[in-house]
Subunit: 345 residues, 4 copies
């Protein structure tokens, strides 16, 4: 697993501990850490102790020569991912990545199993085009994740036209050490680098239609503003939604509450139960109270209410380092195994 | 001054200390405090010490029999304001109030001197209709305040059509003790009681046109979502703006930066300099860094950037207990004095 | 269970959900809540949902006429506890209480099963003296708890002479709504009402020797300063320890790490494993990382280092609403059942 | 001024803006910043804007060849200070430094003008020994500062024997970016690197007696524990004090409240008025409410109360980057000018 020492990398280690299908055999890290034991070089940030198997693994460099695995999880920074991930795909590894480097490639699926599992077939397009035995499969940005899951049932039922999204994002989304404490004490930051462009584009790819070897972007538009707030985990997004076929709050509530993901994604080990939880209290979801719903994999929706301009407003919460990062990649990998796309699995 | 013991009441006391035009002669408070010295019964929440003149004043009940003043500031809760304020207006006091009780009355101006000083003429309508010697003049909700100031130059230059507003509001907006610390540690609350309806209506009244003895609501629509964040002071609002006459970010920036309030409001003691401050850094305004601009009376705007759906996005910050509450009422009173609407002043 | 609607009361409900020995049959609350379902009148503050059995129970008044149980847990405020708890003890209930009302009564044990289970025999003294069928058994103050557990092995091995204790206490120790958010944002409070006197006396009772029907206070002195910090759960105490028989850091470390509680307390359902966890990192224990050790029942000790004045310094962390409140009472009740002191159990 | 780009360096720039005696002619920074304008390379962290004179100054390297001034303020890291500061002293500059590098040198005064101005005469010893025209004068650690000021009147009146000190230190003490936000959200850290040794030694030097060309350490002992808390500015220290000549709380209160610093230090521009402020409320001092007393230069003391082990307890608050860092160095420089120890001033 790549860049296992960062905050997302640590979440991977935590979530893969005791995984029924996967066993971690190698951890990689930045060059200056290579050669040391993971337990010695990693500043572990979670309350739960580091798994002992991980503590003992040596940190390796991120090269196919050092790491030869059918399945690779990547928490690499985007610029390094751009160099490294294709080498692994070429070498035969299926790379499930958090990095944004290849999300805009037409043949790289941006995958949420409860939303667009059919996009996984782009793996074959990719293999043919590049003559790779492996492939690269991306999960979306952590903030895109929750809002896309919540928009899916609405698109299915009514079609989407226009979406306004304003996020209140947690500190862990910036990694560790990330945001300086002096910057967020008694404060919020109305800026998250590069985030708004992702929120305005990624949902359109994920909710777009697969046409043979490419995806047509979803026929709706998103406007996004991103903020950082002093919360450890859990991204909140305030959404205002305009549908193609107008619908009221009750119909939207019903569509969300009754959402059943595609059958193939439902019985995977990391599948959230429920995929979407609709809360009816007027002050929920809240990050501290709702981020661990469904083990951090459930998307929590609340505050559905009418809107004077569009059809309705709602608030969405998703755990940014579980569903929105490491847990999302693992869920993707499970889907790919089930689809027979991982060599030797 | 009414309900001087609460958080807004204390801000009134602080801002009126040494005011060049006004001298506080009476403070009122809840019945169980009446008769005690202000300094003994008030839990003072500011770093700066309580003014000694205030500490010595007795707390009086909020009735015209106990308090006979030409000018009255009110920080009463809405339900009590509804009972008490008309009695004072009838008795001859000009009541500058923070309470929301009468904002929707057609003859009560909701006043921001740098935006709509001409609405002050509703005072005469009110006096005639009720046969009052005094009057009630409201300042808007603390979150409405900043966004309305920022929208004014845009309405003047381009006309407004539709506005999306999502707020990140400070704790002091909920008064003291207000929000429980356990509710906001490592958390945000996606709900502020009664707030969204105010944000969707008040700007339309303030930016509406005075037609004889009434105000036509502004011909635009607002959609609002309100959140509470762990910040002591300073309400941040993320706005997306659709204009009547399309304009780009540069033209909007210029209109905002060049805004000059109506002449009559510019040389009042509490007039902010500048009325609007436009910041060009990509991560400003921020509550902790920008809330005290212009002594807390300036509206700070930043992050102007294009929007895929409307004309542009921007972020507005306003100090909620200074410009958005006590300071706003005082600024209103100064305007009313200058207009000759305060008896004996 | 008494006063089940407060923050400690809710913790009782949570910890008793699925308890192997106890089943909750009645919940009481303040008079204005009586008659309503617990699920309707209680503002539930935990992320985990309220147990459904609890939601359905009616809230009863706290009187023996309304509630007739062999075992009663009490989270009552001290002044009400003083009135109510003896009635229940007289009526036949064994009252395991968090309230401080009777801790200084010579025949009321202040009980920590891993420290002084032998003090439970005061129950018989109490019964005889008052002619009660029930009894009152107290757990100590939440801050006393952790420090007393950590001092016990040191007293056993070396004897205690003098202790300096400075606490950094969590918000939940003040109940809900408790501390106002405006009081602790960007702040700490160097004052917790009534706390220091408890920290200077309670450890001496718990570490005192049982002599027939009374306890001789431990022959050591404690000096305490209490602070409130913006942390949700977990009380940290900085201790400096002077022993009777001088010992260095290594000997103290060994005594703490090897501590084995009295046999009778070890296999109870709520017994912490380990009772004491010694951490060797230079920056641990920390509230957010260590408060849930042993399910919140383990006392975590760290930063043992030499002291220029006394024998050594150390830092102790204990979960204030689990080990230090509800969990402590339940652990006490388990001990009392095992000792045959609960009627009908 | 050295290392003007860090958090203490910025505080220097802010406090020297408009200083009646000093004019900043040069700013230095890390090598990678050299040559750029201060306004471009410095991430300014204060709400008040950067002074325009500072924004225009070029950032220079920290060498006497580049910077030739009679007076130099240093906010250098200790390891660099150890190399650089003697060069400046040799070259003729009087270096007022925050760095800890030379505090333990026998001929370097650790100076607090309201405590030990007579130690300034070590400058002559230093000059003679090293054949320097300049000199190095240190201010103490930010946490040592407040506690030493508060101990001074007690030493004068009663003598000191033993002190227990536990600190709750602000984030800004760790510089910028300093502490990661994820490390202190809903948390405190019971560890500040290197701090405790300083707190146990520095007060003894400052309260020690000058004997010719050396200082005899004060004849008392200090035990310290240091904690980091989520507060922006203001270090709080809980002290327990054993005097040589026993005294009660009232006598201690009187000694503190009546403290008058040595005459020579009283009318300097940065002299705090009062030097010590004693607050009588049971919950003060608090960082957010009291850190700006006397412009951040006053030491605030409160919560004097009897102690079961020593004479009494008290709580001390001092602004760590004003009185405890930049403001302290400037105050020292003013004293040295008045004493005629700065060349050409």
């Amino acid at each position: 697993m790549h860049r296992a020492t960062g905050s997302v990398g640590q979440r991977f280690v935590q979530l893969l501990d005791g995984h029924p299908w996967f066993r971690v055999v190698a951890l990689t890290g930045a060059d200056h850490r290579a050669g040391r034991a993971y337990g010695e070089t990693c500043h572990w940030i979670f309350p739960e102790p580091m798994p002992t198997w991980a503590a003992r693994l040596p940190v390796l460099p991120s090269s196919p020569e050092a790491v030869d695995c059918p399945l690779v999880f990547s928490a690499l920074p985007a610029d390094i991912a751009r160099q490294v991930e294709p080498k692994f795909a070429h070498h035969g590894s299926l790379v499930c990545t958090n990095a944004s480097a290849f999300r805009r490639e037409p043949d790289v699926p941006v995958l949420l199993p409860e939303v667009n599992p059919e996009h996984a077939s782009l793996v074959d397009v990719q293999r043919e085009r590049h003559n790779w035995r492996g492939a690269i499969v991306a999960n979306p940005n952590c903030t895109s994740t929750g809002m896309t899951v919540a928009l899916k049932p609405l698109q299915d039922a009514f079609g989407l036209r226009r979406i306004f999204a304003v996020s209140l994002q947690a500190l862990s989304g910036a990694g560790y050490p990330g945001v300086a404490s002096l910057d967020v004490i008694d404060n919020v930051l109305p800026y998250v680098e590069g985030e708004e462009a992702k929120l305005e584009w990624e949902p359109r790819k994920m909710l777009g239609k697969l046409n043979g070897d490419t995806v047509s972007l979803g026929d709706f538009a998103v406007s996004a503003q991103a903020n950082r707030v002093p919360v450890s985990d859990g991204h909140l997004v305030c959404l205002t939604v305009e549908l193609r076929e107008p619908a009221g709050v009750e119909a939207a509530h019903q569509a969300l509450a009754a959402y059943h993901p595609p059958e193939i994604s439902c019985d995977l080990p990391s599948a959230p139960h429920p995929a979407i939880l609709v809360r009816d209290e007027q002050d929920r979801p809240q990050p501290r109270l709702d981020r661990l719903a469904g083990g951090g994999m459930t998307t929590v929706v609340g505050r559905l209410r009418p809107d004077p301009l569009f059809d309705f407003k709602m608030v969405v919460l998703s755990h940014n380092t579980v569903r929105g990062a490491a847990g999302g990649s693992i869920y993707n990998a499970e889907l790919l195994v089930k689809l027979g796309l991982v060599a030797g699995a």
